[in-house]
């Protein structure tokens, strides 16, 4: 018996009260899948992540998490399964990297006021995986953009999730660390069966990493398909509203070269 | 933060509670009055020594009374505001009238504390009683009760005869003044307790009563609150013939009533009948009340009272 999809989204609509509105989104995220959310600015990508992590409740429609309506899933239970790496975070007070990562242990010991040695061990493992183990005592707000992002990734990993939601995880990373991150996500997916949903404006990186791409435009789901189908000039032009130049490599892999002038 | 339940004021509940508490205690202890147990002007039972040798006064009028009865030596503590007679300024201080220092009072080891319902707080009296002190409270709210207060203090400190004599002489002087101004037309008088904001004496206050006795008609004497805050318009509207300001050592009348020259329609201002009196005398319900009466009468009826 196949497990239910991690996320099943049906006819979901959501708006912030302004002009923008996410409409009629229906799709599923399968267990062990890597799904990339792409599309122009303000197309609803981050909003979708927020709906999946129960930060917002849809105005219409339904989201099911592993078969259960997400409204019936407790926040702590969800947080033990799904970890979110935000694009950025405004910290009100200064904390060290280690303290930040330890916060990821909250869902696994919320009843207790203090973390235990087990929590510290898991946190350190996560920091090692993300490459920030030696930055443990540094204050987070003193870190460069890339290091900060890796600290956030470490925190997400410390939750011991089975699903990772990432919002623009490579936006502050240099090429080397982008490679590292892509490698890490692939490893987690292959070795641990981690389901990954990530938002990216880098179409090529998204195409390389994802099993499927979900293309959003102006709040509507325009295409949900493997990268080869989505990274197509006609499809992209309609979504982005400008001519796009896509070449295919010998292997058949599409590469987006930019806007056609 | 409480009062004794004056008309129109609140805090009456605390006064009632105080009286009830002590009365109930009295029921338990027994109704017979022990030697040395007296009833003060609030109906409280107080156990006073036959000859109190260490007296603390919690108000200037009380200090003046004790001195006038010749027992200033027995005062061991007075408030910061007790400045009359001059010997009082040499006595140890126990704090303000509404901010007494309990420690300072206790440290003086008094055997009798004298308080007044008009200025001291019920809370403080309760506290002093709970600390084991004998507190006798007077209630000088009007002319008669001021005289009674002097007599009661006299009785409590063992100078009853002197007190009676004093009060009798005060009555004589008062009667003389009242006779002197009898029959004369009553000028409309505005008394200024404080100029800015304008605070005047209302119904039931000693000052209003003194003005009446002095042959004047207080234009604020019908106000329901004892010391209402009024706008300058009242000054114009009520057309006083005389304006009297209670001064407390600072500033001339012109300085205090700066700006009032504009009120040209007011008879008192136009004719220059604006006077100052010593606020320390007029506002204290004590032995110098007759001086206050005389000062007011002199202003209101200069032709009849020299």
């Amino acid at each position: 018996m196949t497990p239910p999809p991690v996320f099943a989204v049906r006819e979901v609509e959501f708006g912030y009260g302004g002009a923008f509105r996410l409409t009629g989104a229906s799709f599923e995220v399968a267990e062990g899948e890597i799904l990339g959310l792409v599309g122009p600015n303000s197309s609803g990508k981050t909003t979708l992540l927020r709906l999946l992590s129960k930060v917002h409740v849809p105005d219409r429609g339904e989201i099911r998490f592993r078969g259960t309506p997400i409204g019936a899933v407790g926040r702590l239970a969800l947080a033990r399964d799904v970890a979110v790496v935000p694009q950025e975070e405004q910290l009100a007070f200064s904390v060290s990297v280690e303290e930040l990562v330890l916060m990821g242990r909250f869902p696994r010991g919320a009843g207790r006021l203090f973390e235990g040695p087990e929590d510290l061990a898991r946190a350190r493992e996560a920091m090692a995986l993300a490459g920030v183990l030696d930055l443990g005592n540094h204050p987070v707000d003193a870190l460069a953009g890339g290091e900060r992002q890796r600290a956030l990734i470490a925190r997400a990993l410390a939750q011991e999730p089975r699903v990772l939601l990432l919002d623009e995880p490579t936006s502050h990373l240099d090429l080397l660390h982008q490679r590292h991150l892509v490698g890490l996500l692939r490893r987690l997916n292959r070795e641990r069966g981690m389901t990954v949903v990530f938002v990216s404006h880098d179409l090529n990186l998204a195409g390389e990493l994802a099993d499927r791409l979900l293309l959003l435009s102006d709040g509507r789901l325009v295409r949900l398909a493997p990268p080869r189908e989505v990274l197509d000039e006609a499809v992209l032009e309609e979504a982005y509203g400008c001519p796009v130049w896509v070449e295919r490599l010998a292997s058949g892999r599409p590469v987006v070269l930019g806007v056609r002038l | 933060m409480s009062g004794w339940g004056r008309p129109g004021g609140s805090g009456g509940a605390s006064w009632v509670a105080l009286v009830l508490a002590v009365a109930l205690t009295g029921l338990v202890v027994g109704p017979r009055a022990d030697a040395g147990e007296v009833t003060d002007m609030l109906g409280r039972r107080v156990r006073v020594p036959d000859h109190a040798a260490r007296i603390v006064s919690l108000a200037p009028s009380i200090t003046e009374t004790v001195f006038v009865l010749g027992e200033g030596d027995r005062l061991v503590g007075v408030t910061d505001y007790c400045d009359y007679p001059p010997e009082a300024t040499r006595k140890p201080r126990v704090g303000g009238i509404s901010t007494p220092s309990f420690e300072a009072i206790l440290a003086l080891r008094p055997d009798l504390v004298l308080a007044t319902s008009e200025s001291n707080y019920a809370e403080h009296v309760q506290r002093l009683v709970s600390l084991g002190l004998a507190v006798y409270v007077i209630r000088p709210v009007d002319f008669e009760t001021v005289l009674q207060s002097i007599e009661r203090i006299g009785a409590v400190i063992g100078r009853e005869a002197a007190a009676r004599a004093r009060v009798a002489s005060m009555r004589q002087d008062a009667d003389a003044i009242v006779r002197a101004v009898a029959g004369a037309p009553r000028p409309r008088v505005l008394y200024v307790v404080w100029p800015n904001p304008l605070i005047a004496p209302g119904r039931g206050t000693l000052i209003s009563e003194l003005i009446e006795r002095a042959g004047g008609e207080s234009v604020t004497g019908a106000e329901p609150l004892p010391y209402p805050r009024l706008s300058l318009e009242t000054v114009v509207e009520r057309r006083p013939d005389r304006i009297i300001v209670g001064r407390h050592g600072q500033g001339t009348v012109e300085e205090l009533l700066r700006g009032w020259e504009r009120l040209g329609s007011v008879g008192a201002v136009r004719e220059g009948r604006v006077y100052g009196v010593d606020g320390d005398v007029v506002h204290r319900p004590g032995p110098r009340m007759i001086e206050a009466l005389r000062a007011l009468a002199r202003v209101i009826h200069p032709e009849r009272v020299p």
Binding site: R50, S53, K54, R75, L76, A79, R80, V82, A83, V84, P86, E89, Q90, L91, A92, F93, S94, V95, E98, E99, L102, M103, F106, P107, A110, L113, F114, D141, Q159 | M1, S2, G3, R6, G8, G9, S10, G11, A13, S14, L18, V94, G95, G96, S98, S101, F102, E103, L106, A107, R109, S119, E123, R127, L131, I199, L225, P226, Y227, P228, R229
Partner: protein
């Protein structure tokens, strides 16, 4: 990593400081009672009736009140700062102290004083006022189920101003003779206490502080922002509500007795945060102890400077607090602002 042991050790150190401050407070006053007399009186072997009465009936309840009020206000301030994710928040800024003060003023005018029931009633009136203020702020600032920080602070300031205006209105209508007492109380005062208000405040601050401390770990996560806290499993709205009520309870119970005392809730948590970090599990107990010590010392100073008269303790905290606050703001501006 914060551990139970580290918190325990810090609490012991801070308690030691408080004990020293307390002894200093007990040894200060117009009555000629020195440290030796104080110690003797405390162990039940007072050297004189006067010493016993002054130390046990006058100074001890007052020092206890100062400690409880200072600790409670510091915890309330830390709680509000965690809630609003802003180090400038405290019961006064958010209008909660104003609401409590109005509740207490109305309670006093209605005659609530004297008995134990009345003291509890007065605290309840102040708590009610605090809660009304807090709820008003909450309702003004909430939209669509969210409580954005900026609107919260603005709503708090406006609510505080409104309640101040109402208090001024009440004060202007009050009889002249009562005016002095109310104005004195509005400046913050620790005077005229027996053990009854101390007991009521002890219960209130214990309850309120416990409620806040139970949420300490969740409050830490709130500092990441609403979104991240929710995604980490924190029921943010519920936590905010509980802490709001607890901090209002603390403010109400204390203001009912002492009048509004400012700056303690603002600068103590701030200063402690600079010393031990922002983790509320450590910050809250240390701030409580530091706040208690601070107010005991401030009250001792208030009683010393113009002996035998007393300054209102709110004046001392303002004089100490305002310059320190300016210093904090300037160092903060040099670093990153959140």
């Amino acid at each position: 990593m914060i551990s139970r042991r580290r918190v325990g050790a810090a609490t012991v150190v801070v308690a030691g400081g408080l004990a020293v401050a307390g002894l200093l407070g007990l040894a200060t006053g117009p009555a000629p009672i020195g440290a030796g007399d104080v110690a003797a009186a405390l162990v039940g072997r007072a050297r004189s009736d006067l010493a016993a009465t002054v130390v046990l009936e006058l100074r001890l309840p007052r020092v206890l009140l100062a400690a409880l009020a200072g600790g409670g206000l510091a915890v309330a301030g830390a709680a509000f700062q965690a809630l609003t994710r802003n180090p400038l928040a405290d019961p006064a800024v958010l209008g909660v102290a104003g609401g409590a003060a109005l509740g207490a003023v109305l309670g006093h005018l209605w005659g609530l004083e004297g008995s134990l029931a009345a003291t509890v009633g007065l605290s309840a009136a102040a708590f009610a006022g605090a809660l009304i203020a807090a709820t008003t702020v909450y309702l003004i600032a909430t939209s669509g189920g969210w409580l954005p920080v900026q609107t919260l602070l603005l709503a708090g300031v406006i609510t505080g101003l409104f309640f101040s205006a109402v208090i001024t209105l009440v004060v202007s209508l009050v009889d002249f003779a009562q005016l002095g007492g109310i104005l004195h109380w509005l400046m913050g005062s620790l005077g005229i206490v027996g053990y009854r208000p101390v007991a009521v405040i002890a219960v209130g601050t214990a309850a309120g502080s416990a409620m806040v401390y139970a949420q300490a770990r969740a409050l830490n996560l709130l500092a990441l922002g609403e979104e991240s806290a929710l995604q980490l499993g924190v029921e943010a709205e519920r936590v905010k509500r509980v802490v709001f009520v607890a901090a209002s309870l603390l403010t109400g119970v204390i203001v009912a007795q002492t009048g509004p005392i400012g700056f303690v809730g603002l600068i103590v948590p701030h200063g402690v945060r600079l010393a031990v970090g922002a983790d509320n599990r450590l910050l809250l107990p240390v701030a409580a102890g530091a706040g208690a010590t601070f107010l005991v010392l401030a009250d001792t100073l208030a009683r010393l400077v113009v002996q035998p008269a007393e300054l209102p303790v709110g004046v001392v905290t303002a004089f100490c607090g305002a310059p320190f606050f300016v210093y904090l703001m300037r160092t903060r501006l040099r670093r990153r602002t959140p």
